[in-house]
């Protein structure tokens, strides 16, 4: 099966995000013996979402560690190990549970390099599924992009495609700063095309660079993670009506590549941001603020519009859940509103 940890890379093929992440972990564990993975169920169970499938069998107890149930505990352990020279990859079963460890992530991992005047770097990766899932309700569906993106000292990435997932996870593990990798459970099983180059062992995507997934001239759509796919679907719908959208996949939340968005807005004169998280103090809010502060403001023909998750804790009932996150129709509606058509 292509993409599984023990088979060689093929030419362009369909690889799921899960397998891409697995490849990334496998390759980085092999490349640097200081790298190790810890978290709940990551070893013998192959990972709660099977992201670490086969890795414990291959690398053993020293490199893949099942921890007791304490996020603050194992996050703290990981931070200490990073301070002492290892390169931990700390998995949160979902980022919702990272709140129990948030002091270790922010007060320790993010701030220590600064507080120690550069003498204690913390080369750690926190990764796990973020944002909406399906039918898991309020305490399992929150998006933390804005929370972590808020903090200096952290880098925050949010992959969409398999290529994003693999390239960004590898870059994050190789980065000497603390990096938060916000995956998406709903994307784990989704296959994407991966080029041969993307399947190679040294394929990394630079942190801090957005990608233009589709070029367009009438409106700029900016999103991260799963909504990127929704934007492309909306773009296809709108294309039939003669509206060409430029779709930007942010890839990195912090440091945000606002220059790519600016260049696009200068071209299209219209901006719609799309995110799964809540509207207040969100990723879209930051994009709009920065666009206003920069040269692209003068090129806007209409106010920027944000499409976000509903400002409620995620409900359980399916019809409510579906309508609590941005759908393709919401993006189409926002585009038409901003273009006044």
């Amino acid at each position: 099966r292509s993409g599984s940890p023990l088979s060689p890379p093929a030419a362009v093929s369909q690889v799921t995000v899960r397998d891409a992440l697995n490849q990334a972990l496998d390759e980085e564990l092999e490349r640097d013996e200081r790298v190790f993975l810890l978290g709940e169920e990551v070893a013998q169970y192959d990972g709660a979402y099977k992201i670490s499938r086969g890795l414990w069998k291959k690398y053993g107890d020293k490199r893949v560690i099942d921890t007791p149930i304490s996020e603050m505990g194992f996050a703290g352990i990981a931070v200490g190990a990073a301070m002492a020279g290892l390169r931990p990859v700390c998995e949160f079963m979902t980022f919702n549970f990272s709140m129990q460890a948030i002091d270790q992530v922010i007060n320790s991992a993010a701030k220590t390099c600064y507080m120690s005047a550069g003498s204690i770097p913390v080369p750690i990766v926190f990764r796990g599924p973020n944002g909406a899932s399906a039918g898991v309700a309020a305490q399992h569906s929150q998006c933390f992009a804005a929370w972590y993106g808020h903090c200096p000292g952290l880098k925050v990435v949010s992959p969409w495609s398999s290529e994003d997932a693999k390239g960004l996870l590898k870059a994050s593990i190789r980065d000497d700063n603390p990096v938060v990798v916000l995956e998406s459970e709903l994307l784990y099983g989704v296959p994407f095309e991966m080029s041969e180059q993307a399947q190679s062992k040294d394929f990394v995507i630079p942190i801090g660079k957005a990608k233009i997934e589709k070029q367009g001239t009438h409106v700029t759509l900016v999103a991260h993670s799963r909504p990127v796919g929704h934007c492309l679907e909306a773009a296809a719908v709108l294309s039939k009506e003669g509206v060409e959208c430029e779709v930007i996949n942010l890839r990195t939340i912090r440091p945000m590549d606002i220059e790519t968005v600016e260049a696009s807005v200068v071209k299209t004169n219209h901006l719609v941001t799309v995110e799964g998280g809540w509207p207040q103090f969100g990723v879209g809010a930051e994009i709009c603020a920065r666009i206003m502060e920069g040269p692209a403001f003068n090129y806007l023909d209409a106010p920027a519009v944000r499409v976000t998750g509903a400002d409620v804790p995620m409900p359980y009932a399916k019809i409510l859940e579906d309508n609590s996150i941005p759908q393709v129709k919401d993006i189409v509606f926002a585009v038409k509103k901003t273009l006044n058509i």
Partner: protein, 411 residues
């Protein structure tokens, strides 16, 4: 018969047929190991570590120098010269007794009241002061509030304010050290109050499951700000929790430097040799009075943000200061051995106070770190946004510098 033994994976034990609850105090509490009595007399000769004279003098001088430095820096905070300070009065024995038992390369994670460990390892007065003043000599670049020392060369991890977060970090570091097959231990200090944090529970638990070369050192000084231990916990202190996690544990007299030394040395040796964690609970008291060169009694509060006369009586404080102080007890030991006398005491008081005052005056005169350091070390490499902001600040100061007190800052 074998089939009658319990088969539960979660515990290995025999069956019991009588309903009986285990008392929190299994005995009359875990006993307190000590070497000297309160008058500095060794009780059992076999327990005297027989440290050579220079070593014991180093212990004594470190404790008293710390005491003097505390006195002066506490005063400087009351006078508004520094923003904050924490004294170590009464707990000096826990610092130097344990520091003397460690190897130089053992990694230390402190809480905030372990300056004596760093002082024992030779951190200069000038740099303690530089950190408290946040001046240009501070290796920490003035980033942190006072007493948040750090020194990579002396293997003392930079102090972090949130309580007990260092506990699981120390375990993670011990795990890294174990992986590297280095003959080093990690020593993790914390107070009895911080031991209530969830991080402490997780750290103890993980140290045992990960089998790490770590010594947990709890300073039980009777108070967490104003909260007495009777309100902090109902079990038998911190030492009694150790067995619950699978940790070898001991309670020691924290005001007896030799008891602290013996326990730390043995725990450290075995932690490294056997890759297993140890827990030492050092009983002490957060004292009121500085011991050296006192003009008038000062209060040993939790920190400069505290006034402990609100929650403890003068009688209680007097007892601890006069009857059971680590510095006095070691002083008596030195006297019994003929290694120290009144004249030496007077001379040392004078010279140590002079050293501290000189470092203090120098620290006052030093400029602050240069403004451009505001932007560095957020990440290991400076991101373009911060670089642009630093350049903007530089241009701004070039044009409008006269309106800023730049003379107080290093160029």
């Amino acid at each position: 018969s074998p089939e009658e033994r319990p088969q539960f994976p979660g515990a290995s034990a025999e069956f019991a047929e009588r309903l009986e609850f285990i008392q929190p105090q299994v005995l009359a509490g875990i006993p307190v190991y000590r070497v000297m009595d309160r008058q500095g007399q060794v009780i059992r000769d076999s327990e005297d570590p027989q440290l050579p004279k220079e070593r014991v003098l180093k212990l004594y001088k470190t404790m008293t120098l710390l005491n003097t430095m505390d006195r002066i820096l506490y005063e400087s905070q009351r006078q508004g010269r520094i923003s904050f300070y924490m004294t170590n009065y009464g707990e000096e024995g826990t610092h130097v007794g344990s520091a003397a038992a460690l190897d130089d390369a053992d990694l230390v994670f402190g809480q905030y009241r372990e300056a004596g460990v760093l002082l024992y390892r030779g951190y200069p007065l000038e740099l303690f002061m530089a950190q408290c003043y946040g001046n240009a000599r501070d290796p920490g670049k003035g980033r942190q509030m006072p007493v948040h020392y750090g020194c990579p060369e002396r293997h003392f991890v930079t102090i972090s304010s949130p309580l007990a977060t260092q506990i699981p970090q120390a375990v993670g570091a011990a795990y890294a050290i174990k992986r590297a097959h280095a003959s080093r231990a990690v020593v993790c200090y914390f107070g009895e109050g911080a031991a209530s944090e969830g991080d402490a529970h997780a750290g103890f638990n993980f140290a045992a499951t990960l089998e790490c070369p770590i010594v947990f050192f709890c300073r039980n000084n009777g108070y967490a700000i104003s909260t007495p231990t009777s309100e902090q916990y109902r079990g038998d202190g911190i030492a009694a929790r150790g067995p619950g996690y699978g940790l070898l544990s001991i309670r020691v007299d924290g005001n007896d430097v030799f008891a602290v030394y013996n326990a730390t040395r043995e725990a450290r040796r075995r932690a490294v040799a056997e890759n297993q964690p140890f827990l030492i609970e050092a009983m002490t008291y957060r004292d009121f009075f500085p011991k050296i060169a006192v003009f008038s009694p000062r209060i040993g509060h939790h920190s400069t943000s505290d006034d402990s006369s609100a929650y403890r009586s003068v009688d209680e404080v007097n007892y601890w200061d006069k009857q059971d102080h680590p510095i006095s007890r070691l002083r008596h030991y030195l006297g019994h051995r003929g290694w120290w006398d009144e004249q030496q005491e007077r001379d040392w008081r004078k010279s140590s106070r002079k050293m501290v005052l000189e470092a203090f005056e120098q620290a006052e005169r030093e400029p602050k770190p240069p403004p451009h350091l505001l932007f560095s070390d957020v990440y290991l490499e400076m991101p373009p946004r911060l670089r642009r902001q630093r350049q903007e600040l530089q241009r701004h100061l070039e044009t409008y510098g006269e309106h800023y007190p730049l003379q107080h800052f290093q160029k």
